[in-house]
Symmetry: C2
Subunit: 291 residues, 2 copies
Amino acid sequence: MDMGSDGDLPRGVALAWGVAANPQRGPKRELSLEGIVDAAVQIADADGLGAVSMSSVATALGYTTMSLYRYVSAKDDLILLMQEAGIGLPPIAAGKTERWREGLTQWYRATLAVYDVHPWLLDIPVDSEPNTPNNLAWLDAGLGALAQTALPQTARVSAMLALSGQSRWEGQILRNQAANVIPSETLAELITPEQFPFLAPAIAAGSFTDGESEAFEFGLLRILDGLEVHMAELSAGRPGTVAQPDPDREFAKDENVKKTAARVKEAEAKLRDARQKQREAVTKARERSRA
Amino acid sequence: MDMGSDGDLPRGVALAWGVAANPQRGPKRELSLEGIVDAAVQIADADGLGAVSMSSVATALGYTTMSLYRYVSAKDDLILLMQEAGIGLPPIAAGKTERWREGLTQWYRATLAVYDVHPWLLDIPVDSEPNTPNNLAWLDAGLGALAQTALPQTARVSAMLALSGQSRWEGQILRNQAANVIPSETLAELITPEQFPFLAPAIAAGSFTDGESEAFEFGLLRILDGLEVHMAELSAGRPGTVAQPDPDREFAKDENVKKTAARVKEAEAKLRDARQKQREAVTKARERSRA
DNA sequence: TGTTAACTGTGTACGGTCTACACATTGTTT
DNA sequence: AAACAATGTGTAGACCGTACACAGTTAACA
């Protein structure tokens, strides 16, 4: 099989689109990409993404490790295809709707449902905007819910981006609810009101540990509210955002970020050097006292 | 060194709090936790988290791989400490402020700056709420910006949770801007208006590829707007959210998610079995025709 | 003041990861 | 029939994290 990047597409992506040169010459293939991905997904469902190795997948299929490389050029390809298979297609419901809040909420719920079925999806790092059919279908579905709103195209995409991030975040945190075993009393001892003036009262009020799920519900509602007022302002022909941040102060995005990044970097370097010197001093003192 | 979990804290977390039984008996220690973490951070800064191995860190320090295990009980501990060191303390600015929007915006910018300095932070999976001093300090700083608002404690924590997720998301996506090399023409060919009725026009409008950074700015502003209207409603003594979603429909969170999850799971199993059977049929047909 | 016991850094070894490459075999094309 | 491409396999190499035994160093206890 060609396996070289098809046109301009990275190999894995090309496979996901089903755009891949199929060979004619050699022996009939005994395996199939579909079957391999299915097997890998089942392993991940059962024992997590960490249990998915070229060897474990091959063994599950009754073939040798290296045989997989005739179908997939690297493990990363397999992971990409697993992601695409795992995310699947969004529930058909989508379509245009006048009730965009309901549409987006259900879109959001649906993503959570998928993360519930395939938690390992959250272990796959996102390394670009969606490029593959199913992922784009989810985006499309979300945009559908916004199709009848006053938002311009760009804003719709941005809104879906924000929502995607939020649902992924919720999925990640909720998944590890159980793993978070530090007893709140212990934590309360460490979190003194002097060191954490604003956090300590929050913990005292019990607002930290309980109600994870409701916390995310709050976030979702805020985003939806934010979209709603924004739409209202747009419809009213007004500029755009409630309480536009003051442009005079050092507030503009990129400069601010770059500037503080530089400051952080410098401060860290200074600290690190100081620590380094102290360590060296200690070592020398020890050596001297030994001689 | 004891290295056993100190009290109820996982070892790594105990180390981060500086709560760790220090040994008295044996030879003086030549290395230090600080030094090890510093070295690891520098490697990650230079070549990414993937370049951080027990061996690479030890070599950088001029010691053997196994020596590190006298300071850290597993690589995961080291990663946790790297995270804590990398995130550092939030800029002092924080504190109470009447201008919560500005406070949160700067908090958000500051996190992005940190991700800019230590992109590898985004490669470390989040597997619990923050437990370590620096991470809690960031939370505390964020809560400080909300201290003079009408939000109850729980809502403040929830708001910070949402904001944290969003900044992490932005950091992750922006970092890989460069890696996303699929030419938009190629993508445009694949994304047909029939298959992607809502996405296709968005791409045609150029709303997909350009302006990543502004897209996230939009998201941030929506969250802030959402918080603002929520505060306003609270101050006005009204219930809570603009256009509360209809509770009659199948809309409540957990049931809905669980239900669709079950549906997804079933549908997938069915599909998978069908594919499996077809594959077997093909194989058998081949064998028969061969005999 | 020995003696004991704890702790140090080191070296070896094991099981695991991904994948490059040579190999005989199978099937199509010429 | 010959040429050639594609298949699945086996070997081997370069890494990874870490369990464990070892000799040497230091403090605490008899």
